[in-house]
């Protein structure tokens, strides 16, 4: 079984999706089938996580599977995991079942809803596992479709605009990325789409301009996905309209695909960029810092709680970029950990916002007020989430930010210090929102809200516990990231 374990993890959600879509008639059976299939994936993921040995060698993949597919073009069905992907796979395996539990009460077309979530899960697994660019791109695209449907069927009032904007914007980016893949494919001349082979062959490309061009094309694809200012505007719109489960997965795992691409594909190329290396690093650093500061101030300006959280995602992903740009193992492993941690944190935030929306039917911060009075459980969990998001120590976000900032200061001191300016404003919008939405006297116009239902509270509580757990003891996840980042060629130790 171990031979195909990755395929199992990948395909069980897909099978589950098919079952859910075709054979479940009631809400109860749909969510049960969906939960069970994602839970099986989770268990299998834990199994391989425990067997995983961190940091064998650069491009040393484990649990590898390879089946020829389109041999004339060197395309294979090839899966494998290493330290970069393993924790992210774990993240995906954690978040999806929790999201399904959170959406336990979904009553609009439940079988389609849960099926789409499972497809999304499978797509993201695929991206993190693929060792073949063709396969990678297929899964990369495949994640768009379920989310497009999640937004456009279960979305808010302006869902058409948001869904299509999300769809087209990210599609354009992935097409640019695929151009980079094409160029990489033919200019290395190795006649294969295997990621490890292409990465190793990248330095053999004679023309430095070509190498930079490939790098930039791929970079653009990842940039939009992360997203980085100024290519971020699809994200707030998508979040505002998406149903909570969609937002959770969008921010929780889909954005991570962008960062994953950065670590998997671009950083190993960094050393081969020759004379352009420093300008590329400057570009990345500028984008990162601009993302952090700009998105932070935007978050401050938002009246819609969900939009605020969306902008906070942009800012947090800015740290990922900064860590990658600094290109030393501390910052890179911090950036990787930031991805992991942000996935957990943002899920809590979106779930909290979802609960507010659901029980008082508005998310506009000035219209809320004093919710802590009527919804103490929510207030507690949301407070935990907000604190984690603003980078409070003993929560996972701090570990990540500390590693990123400390690491970045070693190579990009000015940018690291600039990024720190955002920290105060980050605390500012979180606390301001908290003050206006949760504290003060209860706004009676909001009616009688119900506090968290159990199915909402359990996933949020689990996430909060995980955030604290990883904040207090980053342990094996951090170890994997560290080993993975130490062996990237050219990375500063």
């Amino acid at each position: 079984m171990v031979d195909y374990v990755l395929s199992l993890i990948l395909f069980i959600p897909l099978i589950g999706a098919a079952l859910t879509l075709l054979f479940t008639k009631s809400r109860e059976s749909a969510r049960m089938v969906a939960f069970v299939s994602s839970a099986i994936s989770f268990v299998l993921t834990i199994m391989i996580y425990l067997q995983f040995e961190p940091g064998i060698a650069f491009l040393g993949f484990q649990f590898e599977e390879k089946i020829g597919w389109i041999s004339s073009m060197g395309i294979n069905y090839q899966l494998g995991v290493d330290g970069v992907s393993m924790p992210l796979i774990l993240l995906n395996a954690i978040l999806c079942p929790l999201t399904i539990v959170y959406a336990w009460g979904e009553s609009k077309l439940p079988n389609q809803f849960f099926a789409l979530i499972l497809v999304l899960q499978a797509g993201v697994f695929g991206v993190f596992m693929s060792l073949d660019f063709f396969l990678f791109y297929i899964f990369w695209e495949l994640t768009l479709i379920p989310l497009y449907f999640l937004i456009s069927i279960w979305g808010g009032p302006n869902k058409d605009y948001a869904a299509i904007k999300f769809f087209i914007y990210t599609h354009v980016a992935s097409l640019v990325m695929v151009l980079g893949i094409f160029a990489l494919y033919f200019s290395t001349g190795v006649n294969t789409f295997e990621i490890p082979v292409l990465l190793e062959a990248f330095s053999d490309i004679v023309s430095a301009e070509m190498r930079v061009g490939i790098f930039l094309a791929l970079f653009f694809g990842f940039l939009v996905k992360m997203p980085t200012v100024p290519f971020h505007t699809w994200l707030p719109d998508a979040h505002v309209e998406a149903p909570t489960a969609g937002s959770v997965l969008l921010a929780g795992v889909l954005l991570k695909m962008g960062g994953y691409g950065l670590f998997r594909v671009l950083l190993p190329m960094m050393d081969s960029l020759g004379p352009y290396r420093s300008s590329i690093i400057t570009l990345m650093a500028v984008l990162a810092v601009v993302s952090i500061l700009y998105a932070t101030f935007l978050a401050l300006a938002q009246k819609d709680l969900k939009k605020m959280v969306a902008y906070s995602s942009v800012a947090h992903m800015g740290y990922v970029m900064l860590g990658a740009a600094a290109f030393n193992y501390m910052s890179v492993s911090g950036a990787m950990f930031q991805q992991f941690s942000h996935g957990l944190i943002t899920a809590v935030l979106f779930m909290s916002v979802g609960v507010i929306q659901h029980s008082v039917h508005t998310r506009i911060i000035p219209d809320l007020g004093g919710l802590a009075d009527r919804m103490p459980k929510l207030a507690f969990l949301m407070m935990c989430g907000f604190m984690a998001s603003l980078g409070l120590p003993a929560m996972s976000g701090f570990i990540a930010e500390f590693m990123v900032l400390t690491g970045s200061y070693l190579t990009l001191p000015v940018y690291a210090l600039l990024a720190m300016v955002g920290i105060v404003a980050t605390a500012g919008y979180h606390l301001w929102a908290m003050q206006r939405a949760m504290f003060g006297s209860y706004n009676e116009k909001l009616g009688e809200p119900h506090d968290l239902a159990n199915f909402e509270m359990i996933p949020m509580a689990i996430l909060v516990l995980l955030i604290i757990l990883f904040g207090v003891y980053p342990g094996s996840v951090m170890e994997m990231f560290e080993h993975a980042s130490k062996i990237i060629p050219g990375v500063m130790i």
Binding site: F139, D160, I168
Partner: protein
């Protein structure tokens, strides 16, 4: 080569010819209600012809110079013939229900078979005379088919526009070919022409050669529906009977590609730079205009027509890149597009049929509004339309993705960055209107809750197309190899 051998070489064409004649004859003796049999008969003939082609070999067959050097059988011809046959087969299957009880069914099926023969002749032709004849045979049949619903003003308008522009283009093509004939000192065979022009490139670069090129490109551009020779296409695809639109978009359009491959890329390869320049501009404006205007369409057939225009733009990048890889991609794209477009049109036809059955006065059955809530009314139909549209948009696991992937890869490999960027942006743009249909089907509420039952023959036709789309999408290897061997024929 005796006649028996000759007949065996051309068994598929002969079978269809016999079939066409037989159907016409049998039709005389059948009542309208019984003529449905003819549809099954045509299906059988087409199926048998396809099987013969497959049996005869599709990869490595090579027979030159049959019938006074006018025809050939090579992987390219086999590839295109099989494509045409499958498209016709799907169209015929779908038509069985569409024209059940119609008094002119015998003519209808005869015309389809004759048109298919014409296309197959073009696929095989290596002589410009033969090619022109095949071209005209296919065109004439389809002119009539486009106007087949004589009582329907849309159908008539479609036919008349198609006919006039078609005839004009034939004349342009013929005039261009006459110059080729004259310049080469009386050669009509393509390989001989290639030899001649390669030895005397100056001839083709003379004003006369340039005029010939202009006219030939215009003639083919009409069939391929390249902007600005595409003007007939949206009107005709919209007005013609939907199944015939499928035939036009998937069949006769592709015929122009195979003809152009042979004439432009073999015979006139001496001026490949001029050809590349022309097609570079045409490809860019074609794909851009097609996609942009498709955005504004509310009639699904018209939208598919513009999408078809845009796809022709992608395929015509082959004439710019002119590398074996590009040609492989282009040829594979031809087949993929045949499946996707046929499927899409047939699915629209099925919906139209059901809506008309529900309410015989329904107008504009292909209007986008009629697709609202189709996911609830007919899950099968909605799902298949979604697959076809996503395939057209180039979403993974479909034929459209694989062929776009290979085609765009080869264009980039050829160093045509600008072109590929245009193609990619257009591809992204196209997602907008495809996704809109999907949104209508799955997001918007249906106008009535009544379930729609897809008739059996439609379902079979759609399934065939889906199988094609997914087969190329999931197991592309054999198809790519096949397309590559077809591409090798041109010896680029």
């Amino acid at each position: 080569m005796n006649y028996i051998e000759l007949a065996s070489e051309f068994a598929p064409e002969l079978i269809l010819t016999i079939g066409a004649l037989a159907i016409m004859m049998i039709g005389l003796f059948l009542a309208n209600s019984q003529k449905k049999v003819l549809g099954y008969l045509a299906t059988i003939f087409l199926a048998v012809a396809s099987l013969v082609i497959v049996y005869r070999g599709i990869y490595d067959i090579q027979m030159e110079g049959i019938l006074a050097d006018s025809l050939t059988i090579d992987p390219m011809s086999q590839f295109f013939k099989l494509t045409f046959l499958v498209v016709s087969l799907i169209v015929v299957i779908a038509s069985i229900k569409e024209y059940d009880g119609h008094s002119n069914q015998d003519e209808y099926y005869t015309l389809i078979l004759l048109g298919t023969i014409g296309m197959m002749v073009v696929a095989s032709a290596i002589d410009i005379v033969t090619m022109f004849i095949g071209f005209e045979l296919a065109s004439l049949s389809t002119y009539a088919l486009a106007g087949f619903n004589k009582k329907d003003p849309n159908s008539l308008e479609a036919a008349v526009k198609y006919f006039i522009i078609g005839a004009l283009s034939s004349a342009l093509l013929l005039f261009g070919l006459s110059y080729i004939y004259g310049m080469s000192g009386g050669l009509t065979n393509i390989s001989e022409l290639a030899v001649f022009f390669n030895n005397n490139p100056a001839v083709l670069q003379s004003p006369m050669g340039i005029i010939a090129l202009m006219l030939i490109v215009a003639g083919f551009g009409f069939k391929m529906a390249l902007v600005p020779f595409h003007m007939w296409a949206p009107d005709t695809y919209q007005g013609a009977p939907t199944v015939i639109s499928a035939l036009l978009a998937a069949g006769s359009k592709k015929m122009a590609f195979v003809a152009a491959f042979r004439i432009l890329l073999i015979a006139m390869i001496a001026i490949k730079i001029d050809i590349a320049m022309v097609f570079m501009i045409l490809a860019i404006i074609t794909m851009t205009l097609g996609n942009v205007v498709a955005l504004s369409q509310r009639s699904l057939k018209r939208m598919l027509a513009y999408s078809s225009v845009a796809q022709a733009g992608y395929i015509s990048m082959v004439f710019v890149v002119m590398s074996p890889e590009a040609l492989t991609g282009g040829i594979l794209y031809v087949m993929s597009h045949a499946f996707m477009k046929t499927g899409a049109f047939i699915a629209v036809a099925a919906l139209g049929y059901m809506l008309l059955k529900e309410n015989s006065n329904a107008k504009d059955v292909d209007h986008l509004d009629n697709f609202a809530g189709l996911g609830k009314r007919s899950p099968f139909l909605a799902f298949s339309i979604m697959i076809f549209l996503f395939a057209l948009a180039g979403i993974p696991f479909t034929a459209g993705f694989v062929s776009k992937f290979i085609l765009f890869l080869s264009v980039l490999e050829g160093g045509f960055y600008l072109l590929v960027i245009f193609a990619i942006l257009n591809s992204a743009l196209s997602l907008y209107y495809y996704a809109r249909v999907v949104k209508y089907m799955y997001v918007l509420p249906p106008s009535s809750d009544e379930k729609l039952k897809v008739p059996g023959t439609y379902a079979v036709a759609i399934l065939l197309a889906i199988i094609g789309v997914l087969a190329i999408g999931i197991v592309p290897e054999p198809f790519i190899n096949w397309a590559a061997s077809a591409a090798n024929v041109l010896g680029l």
